[in-house]
Amino acid sequence: MSFRYEIRFSGEGGQGLVLAGKIFAEAAAIYDGLNATQSQSYGPEARGGSSRSEVIVSDDEIDYPKAVSIDLLLALTQEACDRYYADVKEGGVVIVDAAAVQTIPEGNFKIFQVPIIELARQKVGKPLFANIVALGIIAGIVDVVTEDALKSAIEARVPKGTEEINLQAFQVGLQEGKKYLTSF
Protein backbone atom coordinates (compact mmCIF):
# COMPACT_ATOMS: atom_id res chain seq x y z
CA MET A 1 0.00 0.00 0.00
CA SER A 2 1.47 3.32 -1.00
CA PHE A 3 1.53 6.27 1.36
CA ARG A 4 0.80 9.96 0.84
CA TYR A 5 1.84 12.41 3.54
CA GLU A 6 0.62 15.99 3.39
CA ILE A 7 2.18 18.94 5.20
CA ARG A 8 0.96 22.52 5.17
CA PHE A 9 3.35 25.27 6.32
CA SER A 10 1.29 28.36 7.10
CA GLY A 11 1.83 31.85 8.42
CA GLU A 12 2.40 35.18 6.78
CA GLY A 13 4.38 36.33 3.77
CA GLY A 14 8.08 36.83 4.55
CA GLN A 15 8.37 34.00 7.12
CA GLY A 16 10.16 31.73 4.68
CA LEU A 17 7.43 29.12 4.50
CA VAL A 18 7.77 28.56 0.76
CA LEU A 19 11.49 27.95 1.24
CA ALA A 20 10.80 25.56 4.13
CA GLY A 21 8.41 23.62 1.89
CA LYS A 22 10.93 23.48 -0.95
CA ILE A 23 13.65 22.20 1.40
CA PHE A 24 11.33 19.53 2.76
CA ALA A 25 10.34 18.42 -0.74
CA GLU A 26 13.96 18.32 -1.90
CA ALA A 27 14.98 16.32 1.16
CA ALA A 28 12.32 13.72 0.34
CA ALA A 29 12.79 13.64 -3.44
CA ILE A 30 16.52 14.06 -3.90
CA TYR A 31 18.06 12.62 -0.74
CA ASP A 32 15.51 10.08 0.47
CA GLY A 33 14.51 8.71 -2.92
CA LEU A 34 10.81 9.40 -2.43
CA ASN A 35 8.47 11.39 -4.62
CA ALA A 36 7.52 14.90 -3.55
CA THR A 37 5.80 18.05 -4.71
CA GLN A 38 5.68 21.49 -3.18
CA SER A 39 3.13 24.13 -4.02
CA GLN A 40 2.15 27.46 -2.59
CA SER A 41 -0.64 29.91 -2.33
CA TYR A 42 -0.05 33.53 -1.60
CA GLY A 43 -1.60 36.93 -2.12
CA PRO A 44 -0.34 39.81 -4.24
CA GLU A 45 1.62 41.31 -1.31
CA ALA A 46 5.42 40.97 -1.07
CA ARG A 47 5.33 40.95 2.76
CA GLY A 48 2.50 40.16 5.14
CA GLY A 49 -0.76 38.68 4.01
CA SER A 50 -1.40 35.00 4.54
CA SER A 51 1.00 32.52 2.99
CA ARG A 52 0.88 28.79 2.74
CA SER A 53 3.16 26.21 1.29
CA GLU A 54 2.17 22.58 0.88
CA VAL A 55 4.35 19.52 0.52
CA ILE A 56 3.13 16.11 -0.55
CA VAL A 57 5.48 13.19 0.04
CA SER A 58 4.73 9.77 -1.38
CA ASP A 59 6.39 6.58 -2.52
CA ASP A 60 4.05 6.61 -5.51
CA GLU A 61 3.10 9.01 -8.29
CA ILE A 62 1.62 12.27 -6.97
CA ASP A 63 -1.28 13.25 -9.18
CA TYR A 64 -2.93 16.09 -7.28
CA PRO A 65 -0.15 18.33 -5.94
CA LYS A 66 -2.26 20.17 -3.37
CA ALA A 67 -3.30 19.04 0.11
CA VAL A 68 -6.62 17.26 0.46
CA SER A 69 -6.32 15.73 3.91
CA ILE A 70 -3.52 17.22 5.97
CA ASP A 71 -1.26 15.02 8.10
CA LEU A 72 0.72 17.87 9.59
CA LEU A 73 -0.08 21.56 9.91
CA LEU A 74 2.49 24.13 10.95
CA ALA A 75 0.95 27.47 11.90
CA LEU A 76 3.10 30.48 12.74
CA THR A 77 0.21 32.94 13.08
CA GLN A 78 -3.18 32.82 14.77
CA GLU A 79 -4.88 33.67 11.50
CA ALA A 80 -3.26 30.76 9.69
CA CYS A 81 -4.12 28.39 12.51
CA ASP A 82 -7.76 29.48 12.59
CA ARG A 83 -8.07 29.19 8.87
CA TYR A 84 -6.46 25.81 8.34
CA TYR A 85 -6.83 23.54 11.39
CA ALA A 86 -10.14 22.18 10.12
CA ASP A 87 -8.33 20.63 7.12
CA VAL A 88 -6.18 18.45 9.40
CA LYS A 89 -7.17 14.82 9.28
CA GLU A 90 -8.13 12.71 12.28
CA GLY A 91 -5.06 11.75 14.28
CA GLY A 92 -2.96 14.36 12.45
CA VAL A 93 -0.40 16.70 13.94
CA VAL A 94 -0.70 20.45 14.52
CA ILE A 95 2.41 22.41 15.48
CA VAL A 96 1.81 26.03 16.43
CA ASP A 97 4.06 28.84 17.54
CA ALA A 98 3.41 29.05 21.27
CA ALA A 99 3.51 32.85 21.38
CA ALA A 100 1.77 33.73 18.13
CA VAL A 101 -1.06 31.25 18.53
CA GLN A 102 -2.90 31.88 21.77
CA THR A 103 -6.26 30.36 20.91
CA ILE A 104 -5.61 26.67 20.59
CA PRO A 105 -7.88 24.82 18.18
CA GLU A 106 -9.76 21.79 19.34
CA GLY A 107 -10.05 18.69 17.28
CA ASN A 108 -9.09 15.09 16.88
CA PHE A 109 -5.39 15.78 16.37
CA LYS A 110 -2.22 16.01 18.44
CA ILE A 111 -1.25 19.58 19.15
CA PHE A 112 2.24 20.82 19.93
CA GLN A 113 2.76 24.37 21.21
CA VAL A 114 6.40 25.22 20.55
CA PRO A 115 8.05 28.62 21.00
CA ILE A 116 9.43 28.42 17.45
CA ILE A 117 10.04 32.11 16.78
CA GLU A 118 11.44 32.65 20.29
CA LEU A 119 13.86 29.73 19.86
CA ALA A 120 15.06 31.21 16.60
CA ARG A 121 15.59 34.57 18.25
CA GLN A 122 17.31 33.28 21.40
CA LYS A 123 19.27 30.28 20.23
CA VAL A 124 20.05 31.16 16.62
CA GLY A 125 20.07 34.93 16.87
CA LYS A 126 17.24 36.03 14.60
CA PRO A 127 13.51 35.26 14.26
CA LEU A 128 14.32 34.96 10.53
CA PHE A 129 15.46 31.37 11.19
CA ALA A 130 12.04 30.26 12.48
CA ASN A 131 11.37 28.38 9.22
CA ILE A 132 14.49 26.23 9.58
CA VAL A 133 13.89 25.73 13.31
CA ALA A 134 10.42 24.53 12.35
CA LEU A 135 11.91 22.00 9.93
CA GLY A 136 13.99 20.63 12.82
CA ILE A 137 10.93 20.42 15.05
CA ILE A 138 9.00 18.54 12.38
CA ALA A 139 11.92 16.14 11.89
CA GLY A 140 11.96 15.54 15.66
CA ILE A 141 8.25 14.86 15.92
CA VAL A 142 7.41 12.89 12.78
CA ASP A 143 9.30 10.34 10.78
CA VAL A 144 8.65 11.22 7.13
CA VAL A 145 12.06 12.19 5.83
CA THR A 146 15.40 11.51 7.48
CA GLU A 147 17.44 14.05 9.43
CA ASP A 148 20.34 13.58 7.06
CA ALA A 149 18.20 14.28 4.02
CA LEU A 150 16.91 17.49 5.57
CA LYS A 151 20.42 18.61 6.47
CA SER A 152 21.65 17.96 2.96
CA ALA A 153 18.68 19.81 1.48
CA ILE A 154 19.22 22.79 3.81
CA GLU A 155 22.90 22.99 2.87
CA ALA A 156 22.07 22.91 -0.82
CA ARG A 157 19.29 25.49 -0.66
CA VAL A 158 20.25 28.28 1.74
CA PRO A 159 22.41 31.22 0.59
CA LYS A 160 26.14 30.49 0.46
CA GLY A 161 27.89 31.34 3.68
CA THR A 162 24.80 30.75 5.81
CA GLU A 163 24.93 26.95 5.77
CA GLU A 164 26.37 26.63 9.24
CA ILE A 165 23.95 28.91 11.02
CA ASN A 166 21.02 27.29 9.22
CA LEU A 167 22.19 23.84 10.25
CA GLN A 168 22.46 25.16 13.78
CA ALA A 169 18.86 26.37 13.53
CA PHE A 170 17.85 22.91 12.35
CA GLN A 171 19.62 21.29 15.35
CA VAL A 172 17.87 23.65 17.76
CA GLY A 173 14.54 22.64 16.31
CA LEU A 174 15.41 18.96 16.20
CA GLN A 175 16.33 18.82 19.88
CA GLU A 176 13.20 20.71 20.82
CA GLY A 177 11.03 18.46 18.66
CA LYS A 178 12.43 15.28 20.16
CA LYS A 179 11.69 16.64 23.62
CA TYR A 180 8.04 17.12 22.73
CA LEU A 181 7.80 13.65 21.27
CA THR A 182 9.03 11.90 24.42
CA SER A 183 6.78 13.94 26.64
CA PHE A 184 3.74 12.83 24.66
Binding site: K22, E26, A29, I30, A36, Y42, D63, V68
Partner: protein, 378 residues
Protein backbone atom coordinates in the same frame (compact mmCIF):
# COMPACT_ATOMS: atom_id res chain seq x y z
CA UNK B 1 23.53 10.36 -16.73
CA UNK B 2 20.28 10.98 -14.91
CA UNK B 3 20.03 13.98 -12.66
CA UNK B 4 17.26 14.13 -10.05
CA UNK B 5 16.01 17.61 -9.44
CA UNK B 6 13.11 19.33 -7.78
CA UNK B 7 12.09 22.10 -10.12
CA UNK B 8 9.16 24.39 -10.80
CA UNK B 9 7.14 24.47 -13.99
CA UNK B 10 8.52 27.88 -14.88
CA UNK B 11 12.08 26.61 -14.46
CA UNK B 12 11.28 23.59 -16.62
CA UNK B 13 9.87 25.89 -19.29
CA UNK B 14 13.02 28.02 -19.36
CA UNK B 15 15.28 24.98 -19.49
CA UNK B 16 13.13 23.25 -22.10
CA UNK B 17 13.40 26.36 -24.28
CA UNK B 18 17.18 26.28 -23.98
CA UNK B 19 17.23 22.58 -24.84
CA UNK B 20 15.17 23.40 -27.94
CA UNK B 21 17.76 25.92 -29.06
CA UNK B 22 16.22 29.18 -27.84
CA UNK B 23 18.50 32.06 -28.77
CA UNK B 24 16.27 35.10 -28.19
CA UNK B 25 13.87 36.02 -25.41
CA UNK B 26 12.02 39.30 -25.07
CA UNK B 27 9.45 39.80 -22.34
CA UNK B 28 7.89 41.97 -19.71
CA UNK B 29 7.55 40.51 -16.21
CA UNK B 30 4.12 39.50 -14.99
CA UNK B 31 2.96 37.09 -12.29
CA UNK B 32 2.77 34.09 -12.53
CA UNK B 33 5.14 33.90 -15.51
CA UNK B 34 8.00 36.10 -14.25
CA UNK B 35 10.30 33.26 -13.19
CA UNK B 36 10.60 32.15 -16.82
CA UNK B 37 12.12 35.52 -17.70
CA UNK B 38 14.14 35.52 -14.48
CA UNK B 39 15.68 32.14 -15.29
CA UNK B 40 16.40 33.06 -18.89
CA UNK B 41 17.92 36.42 -17.92
CA UNK B 42 20.53 34.35 -16.15
CA UNK B 43 20.85 31.32 -18.41
CA UNK B 44 20.36 32.67 -21.93
CA UNK B 45 23.41 34.97 -22.07
CA UNK B 46 25.55 32.00 -20.91
CA UNK B 47 24.24 30.08 -23.93
CA UNK B 48 25.24 32.98 -26.19
CA UNK B 49 21.63 34.02 -26.59
CA UNK B 50 20.00 37.40 -26.14
CA UNK B 51 17.67 38.36 -23.31
CA UNK B 52 15.83 41.67 -23.45
CA UNK B 53 13.34 43.04 -20.99
CA UNK B 54 11.14 45.22 -23.18
CA UNK B 55 8.97 48.17 -22.18
CA UNK B 56 5.73 46.21 -22.51
CA UNK B 57 4.14 43.13 -24.05
CA UNK B 58 3.43 44.71 -27.45
CA UNK B 59 7.12 45.44 -27.85
CA UNK B 60 8.04 42.00 -26.50
CA UNK B 61 6.17 40.04 -29.16
CA UNK B 62 7.37 42.54 -31.79
CA UNK B 63 10.99 41.91 -30.83
CA UNK B 64 10.38 38.15 -30.85
CA UNK B 65 8.99 38.30 -34.40
CA UNK B 66 11.89 40.45 -35.57
CA UNK B 67 14.46 38.13 -34.00
CA UNK B 68 12.81 35.07 -35.54
CA UNK B 69 12.99 36.69 -39.00
CA UNK B 70 16.77 36.79 -38.60
CA UNK B 71 16.80 33.05 -37.93
CA UNK B 72 16.67 33.02 -34.12
CA UNK B 73 14.52 30.61 -32.16
CA UNK B 74 12.53 33.16 -30.23
CA UNK B 75 10.11 33.13 -27.32
CA UNK B 76 8.21 35.36 -24.94
CA UNK B 77 6.35 34.53 -21.73
CA UNK B 78 3.44 36.36 -20.17
CA UNK B 79 0.08 36.01 -18.41
CA UNK B 80 -3.49 37.05 -19.26
CA UNK B 81 -3.19 40.85 -19.38
CA UNK B 82 0.04 40.64 -21.39
CA UNK B 83 -1.37 37.93 -23.63
CA UNK B 84 -4.24 40.29 -24.49
CA UNK B 85 -1.73 42.94 -25.56
CA UNK B 86 0.08 40.46 -27.79
CA UNK B 87 -2.93 39.40 -29.84
CA UNK B 88 -2.44 41.78 -32.77
CA UNK B 89 1.13 40.67 -33.36
CA UNK B 90 0.26 37.00 -32.94
CA UNK B 91 -1.99 37.49 -35.96
CA UNK B 92 0.89 39.15 -37.76
CA UNK B 93 3.14 36.15 -37.02
CA UNK B 94 0.46 33.82 -38.36
CA UNK B 95 0.03 35.86 -41.55
CA UNK B 96 3.74 36.46 -42.14
CA UNK B 97 4.53 32.85 -41.08
CA UNK B 98 7.08 33.70 -38.42
CA UNK B 99 7.90 30.82 -36.06
CA UNK B 100 7.82 31.78 -32.37
CA UNK B 101 6.68 30.46 -29.01
CA UNK B 102 4.36 32.42 -26.73
CA UNK B 103 4.02 31.10 -23.19
CA UNK B 104 0.86 32.18 -21.41
CA UNK B 105 0.81 31.23 -17.73
CA UNK B 106 -2.90 31.55 -17.08
CA UNK B 107 -4.16 33.40 -14.03
CA UNK B 108 -7.67 34.47 -13.07
CA UNK B 109 -9.26 37.17 -15.21
CA UNK B 110 -10.79 39.19 -16.76
CA UNK B 111 -8.47 42.22 -16.62
CA UNK B 112 -5.75 42.10 -13.95
CA UNK B 113 -8.07 39.68 -12.14
CA UNK B 114 -6.23 37.31 -9.83
CA UNK B 115 -2.47 37.78 -10.31
CA UNK B 116 -1.38 34.94 -8.03
CA UNK B 117 -4.21 32.46 -8.55
CA UNK B 118 -4.78 29.82 -11.24
CA UNK B 119 -7.30 29.71 -14.05
CA UNK B 120 -7.79 28.15 -17.46
CA UNK B 121 -9.76 31.10 -18.75
CA UNK B 122 -7.56 31.87 -21.76
CA UNK B 123 -8.19 28.70 -23.74
CA UNK B 124 -10.53 30.41 -26.18
CA UNK B 125 -8.36 33.50 -26.27
CA UNK B 126 -5.51 31.29 -27.42
CA UNK B 127 -7.79 30.05 -30.21
CA UNK B 128 -9.53 33.24 -31.27
CA UNK B 129 -7.74 36.10 -29.51
CA UNK B 130 -6.41 37.53 -32.72
CA UNK B 131 -8.83 38.52 -35.45
CA UNK B 132 -9.56 36.86 -38.76
CA UNK B 133 -9.89 33.25 -39.87
CA UNK B 134 -6.79 31.43 -38.79
CA UNK B 135 -5.41 28.25 -37.32
CA UNK B 136 -3.32 28.16 -34.18
CA UNK B 137 -1.34 25.53 -32.32
CA UNK B 138 -1.66 25.51 -28.52
CA UNK B 139 -0.27 22.94 -26.11
CA UNK B 140 -1.26 22.32 -22.48
CA UNK B 141 1.18 20.31 -20.36
CA UNK B 142 0.08 18.98 -16.96
CA UNK B 143 3.29 18.29 -15.06
CA UNK B 144 6.72 19.83 -14.63
CA UNK B 145 8.45 17.23 -16.77
CA UNK B 146 5.79 17.57 -19.44
CA UNK B 147 6.34 21.35 -19.44
CA UNK B 148 10.00 20.66 -20.24
CA UNK B 149 9.11 18.25 -23.05
CA UNK B 150 6.28 20.32 -24.53
CA UNK B 151 8.34 23.50 -24.52
CA UNK B 152 10.77 21.70 -26.82
CA UNK B 153 7.84 20.44 -28.86
CA UNK B 154 6.39 23.96 -29.11
CA UNK B 155 9.60 25.14 -30.76
CA UNK B 156 9.68 22.11 -33.04
CA UNK B 157 6.12 22.70 -34.21
CA UNK B 158 6.72 26.44 -34.65
CA UNK B 159 9.79 25.81 -36.80
CA UNK B 160 8.26 22.94 -38.74
CA UNK B 161 5.03 24.73 -39.63
CA UNK B 162 6.31 28.34 -39.63
CA UNK B 163 3.70 29.49 -37.17
CA UNK B 164 3.38 30.88 -33.66
CA UNK B 165 2.78 28.19 -31.04
CA UNK B 166 1.13 28.97 -27.74
CA UNK B 167 2.12 27.09 -24.63
CA UNK B 168 -0.66 27.30 -22.06
CA UNK B 169 0.44 26.83 -18.48
CA UNK B 170 -1.39 27.92 -15.36
CA UNK B 171 -0.33 29.28 -11.98
CA UNK B 172 -0.39 25.85 -10.32
CA UNK B 173 1.92 24.25 -12.87
CA UNK B 174 4.15 27.32 -13.08
CA UNK B 175 4.85 27.38 -9.36
CA UNK B 176 4.61 23.77 -8.26
CA UNK B 177 7.95 22.14 -7.49
CA UNK B 178 8.15 18.55 -8.62
CA UNK B 179 10.67 15.79 -8.78
CA UNK B 180 12.02 15.36 -12.28
CA UNK B 181 14.60 13.00 -13.61
CA UNK B 182 16.48 14.68 -16.45
CA UNK B 183 18.95 12.83 -18.56
CA UNK B 184 21.87 14.92 -19.77
CA UNK B 185 22.66 12.35 -22.44
CA UNK B 186 19.16 11.96 -23.85
CA UNK B 187 18.93 12.39 -27.59
CA UNK B 188 16.15 14.91 -28.18
CA UNK B 189 14.46 15.57 -31.47
CA UNK B 190 15.13 19.18 -32.39
CA UNK B 191 13.55 20.55 -35.56
CA UNK B 192 14.93 23.60 -37.35
CA UNK B 193 13.14 25.59 -40.03
CA UNK B 194 13.87 24.77 -43.66
CA UNK B 195 16.01 27.40 -45.35
CA UNK B 196 16.00 28.04 -49.13
CA UNK B 197 18.42 26.16 -51.39
CA UNK B 198 18.00 28.48 -54.35
CA UNK B 199 20.05 31.63 -54.94
CA UNK B 200 18.69 34.90 -53.47
CA UNK B 201 17.62 36.13 -56.96
CA UNK B 202 15.42 33.07 -57.42
CA UNK B 203 13.92 33.12 -53.92
CA UNK B 204 10.17 33.43 -53.54
CA UNK B 205 9.57 33.92 -49.82
CA UNK B 206 5.99 32.65 -49.87
CA UNK B 207 6.31 30.03 -52.58
CA UNK B 208 3.46 27.52 -52.78
CA UNK B 209 5.41 24.34 -52.10
CA UNK B 210 4.03 20.83 -52.00
CA UNK B 211 4.18 20.58 -48.22
CA UNK B 212 2.61 24.07 -47.97
CA UNK B 213 5.48 25.43 -45.89
CA UNK B 214 7.78 27.80 -47.78
CA UNK B 215 11.47 27.67 -46.90
CA UNK B 216 12.42 30.66 -44.77
CA UNK B 217 15.52 32.75 -45.40
CA UNK B 218 17.01 34.48 -42.36
CA UNK B 219 17.37 38.22 -42.77
CA UNK B 220 20.97 39.18 -43.07
CA UNK B 221 21.96 36.17 -45.14
CA UNK B 222 21.70 37.89 -48.51
CA UNK B 223 18.05 37.20 -49.20
CA UNK B 224 15.99 40.38 -49.54
CA UNK B 225 12.24 40.06 -49.29
CA UNK B 226 9.12 41.80 -48.15
CA UNK B 227 7.22 40.78 -44.99
CA UNK B 228 3.75 42.12 -44.38
CA UNK B 229 0.57 41.47 -42.43
CA UNK B 230 -1.40 42.31 -45.56
CA UNK B 231 -2.60 39.51 -47.78
CA UNK B 232 0.31 38.82 -50.12
CA UNK B 233 1.31 36.71 -53.08
CA UNK B 234 4.33 34.44 -53.35
CA UNK B 235 6.70 37.42 -53.60
CA UNK B 236 5.57 38.69 -50.19
CA UNK B 237 4.10 41.91 -51.66
CA UNK B 238 0.49 42.84 -50.95
CA UNK B 239 -2.22 41.71 -53.31
CA UNK B 240 -5.96 42.18 -53.73
CA UNK B 241 -6.25 39.47 -56.35
CA UNK B 242 -8.97 37.09 -55.08
CA UNK B 243 -7.18 34.09 -56.55
CA UNK B 244 -3.95 34.92 -54.75
CA UNK B 245 -5.79 35.80 -51.53
CA UNK B 246 -7.59 32.49 -51.49
CA UNK B 247 -4.44 30.60 -52.33
CA UNK B 248 -2.64 32.17 -49.37
CA UNK B 249 -5.43 31.87 -46.84
CA UNK B 250 -6.20 28.26 -47.70
CA UNK B 251 -2.53 27.37 -47.55
CA UNK B 252 -2.26 28.92 -44.07
CA UNK B 253 -5.25 26.87 -42.93
CA UNK B 254 -4.25 23.68 -44.69
CA UNK B 255 -0.66 23.56 -43.50
CA UNK B 256 -2.06 23.07 -39.97
CA UNK B 257 -5.26 21.13 -40.68
CA UNK B 258 -3.67 18.56 -43.01
CA UNK B 259 -1.06 17.86 -40.36
CA UNK B 260 -3.47 17.37 -37.47
CA UNK B 261 -2.24 13.82 -36.93
CA UNK B 262 1.25 15.11 -36.36
CA UNK B 263 0.20 18.01 -34.15
CA UNK B 264 -2.66 16.65 -32.02
CA UNK B 265 -1.70 14.61 -28.96
CA UNK B 266 -3.96 13.18 -26.27
CA UNK B 267 -3.49 10.76 -23.39
CA UNK B 268 -6.04 7.98 -22.98
CA UNK B 269 -6.08 7.16 -19.27
CA UNK B 270 -8.03 4.09 -18.12
CA UNK B 271 -10.64 4.54 -20.85
CA UNK B 272 -10.76 0.96 -22.15
CA UNK B 273 -13.25 -0.36 -19.57
CA UNK B 274 -14.69 3.01 -18.54
CA UNK B 275 -18.42 3.68 -18.27
CA UNK B 276 -17.90 7.35 -17.54
CA UNK B 277 -15.38 9.59 -19.29
CA UNK B 278 -13.63 12.76 -18.22
CA UNK B 279 -12.06 15.26 -20.59
CA UNK B 280 -9.59 17.63 -19.02
CA UNK B 281 -6.20 19.29 -19.52
CA UNK B 282 -3.47 21.18 -17.68
CA UNK B 283 -3.50 21.18 -13.89
CA UNK B 284 -7.21 20.30 -13.78
CA UNK B 285 -6.27 16.93 -15.26
CA UNK B 286 -4.17 16.34 -12.14
CA UNK B 287 -7.28 16.76 -9.99
CA UNK B 288 -9.08 14.36 -12.34
CA UNK B 289 -6.42 11.66 -12.06
CA UNK B 290 -6.68 11.80 -8.28
CA UNK B 291 -10.48 11.61 -8.49
CA UNK B 292 -10.34 8.71 -10.96
CA UNK B 293 -8.14 6.69 -8.65
CA UNK B 294 -10.52 7.29 -5.76
CA UNK B 295 -13.64 6.54 -7.78
CA UNK B 296 -12.13 3.35 -9.18
CA UNK B 297 -11.28 2.22 -5.65
CA UNK B 298 -15.01 2.57 -4.95
CA UNK B 299 -15.91 0.56 -8.03
CA UNK B 300 -16.88 3.43 -10.35
CA UNK B 301 -15.30 2.81 -13.75
CA UNK B 302 -14.04 6.25 -14.85
CA UNK B 303 -11.34 7.14 -17.35
CA UNK B 304 -9.94 10.29 -18.90
CA UNK B 305 -9.17 11.62 -22.32
CA UNK B 306 -6.51 14.22 -21.53
CA UNK B 307 -5.89 16.92 -24.11
CA UNK B 308 -2.18 17.56 -24.53
CA UNK B 309 -2.68 19.58 -27.69
CA UNK B 310 -5.56 21.98 -27.11
CA UNK B 311 -5.56 23.55 -30.60
CA UNK B 312 -6.19 22.22 -33.15
CA UNK B 313 -8.91 20.45 -31.18
CA UNK B 314 -8.74 16.65 -30.90
CA UNK B 315 -12.02 16.16 -32.81
CA UNK B 316 -11.20 12.71 -34.10
CA UNK B 317 -10.39 11.27 -30.67
CA UNK B 318 -13.36 12.98 -29.02
CA UNK B 319 -15.69 11.70 -31.75
CA UNK B 320 -14.37 8.18 -31.33
CA UNK B 321 -14.57 8.07 -27.54
CA UNK B 322 -17.94 9.77 -27.22
CA UNK B 323 -19.35 7.03 -29.46
CA UNK B 324 -17.99 4.39 -27.05
CA UNK B 325 -18.82 6.02 -23.74
CA UNK B 326 -22.16 7.72 -23.23
CA UNK B 327 -21.51 10.02 -20.29
CA UNK B 328 -18.77 12.63 -20.12
CA UNK B 329 -17.60 15.30 -17.70
CA UNK B 330 -15.45 18.15 -18.97
CA UNK B 331 -13.38 19.44 -16.06
CA UNK B 332 -11.82 22.89 -16.43
CA UNK B 333 -11.08 26.08 -14.52
CA UNK B 334 -13.34 28.24 -16.70
CA UNK B 335 -17.02 28.40 -17.58
CA UNK B 336 -16.95 25.61 -20.14
CA UNK B 337 -14.67 26.78 -22.95
CA UNK B 338 -13.62 23.27 -23.97
CA UNK B 339 -16.97 21.69 -23.01
CA UNK B 340 -18.57 23.44 -25.99
CA UNK B 341 -15.92 22.00 -28.33
CA UNK B 342 -16.59 18.56 -26.89
CA UNK B 343 -20.33 18.95 -27.45
CA UNK B 344 -19.74 19.93 -31.05
CA UNK B 345 -17.41 16.99 -31.66
CA UNK B 346 -19.74 14.49 -29.96
CA UNK B 347 -22.62 15.29 -32.38
CA UNK B 348 -25.14 14.34 -29.69
CA UNK B 349 -23.70 10.82 -29.28
CA UNK B 350 -23.00 11.35 -25.58
CA UNK B 351 -24.28 13.44 -22.69
CA UNK B 352 -21.75 16.11 -21.75
CA UNK B 353 -21.62 17.71 -18.30
CA UNK B 354 -19.30 20.47 -17.17
CA UNK B 355 -17.41 20.55 -13.89
CA UNK B 356 -16.27 24.13 -13.60
CA UNK B 357 -14.60 26.37 -11.09
CA UNK B 358 -13.50 30.01 -11.42
CA UNK B 359 -12.87 31.08 -7.82
CA UNK B 360 -9.06 31.02 -7.96
CA UNK B 361 -8.81 27.74 -6.07
CA UNK B 362 -7.61 24.56 -7.75
CA UNK B 363 -10.37 22.04 -8.41
CA UNK B 364 -10.48 19.71 -5.42
CA UNK B 365 -10.58 16.03 -6.49
CA UNK B 366 -13.25 15.46 -3.86
CA UNK B 367 -15.50 17.94 -5.69
CA UNK B 368 -15.12 15.96 -8.92
CA UNK B 369 -15.84 12.65 -7.13
CA UNK B 370 -18.96 14.11 -5.57
CA UNK B 371 -20.29 15.49 -8.86
CA UNK B 372 -19.74 12.18 -10.61
CA UNK B 373 -21.27 10.17 -7.75
CA UNK B 374 -24.29 12.48 -7.67
CA UNK B 375 -24.67 11.81 -11.38
CA UNK B 376 -24.73 8.02 -10.86
CA UNK B 377 -28.19 8.19 -9.33
CA UNK B 378 -29.68 10.32 -12.07
Amino acid sequence: MNVIRVMTGNEACAEGALAAGLSFFAGYPITPSSEIAEELAELLPCAEGVFIQMEDELASIGAVIGASLTGAKAMTATSGPGFSLMQENIGYAIMAEVPCVIVNVMRGGPSTGLPTLPSQGDVMQARWGTHGDHQIIALAPYSVIEIFDLTIRAFNLAEKYRTPVILLLDEILAHVSEKVVLSDTAVRVIIDRIIPQEAPEAYLPYRYTQNLIPPMAPFGSGYRYHVTGLAHDETGFPTNDPVEIEKLLFRLQDKIIRNRDDIVQVEEFLLEDAEIGIISYGSSARSCRHAIRQLRAQGVRVGMLRLITIWPFANVKVEKWTKNIGKWYVVEMNMGQIAREVEAAAHGDATIFGIRQINGEPINPEFICQKIKDGLNV
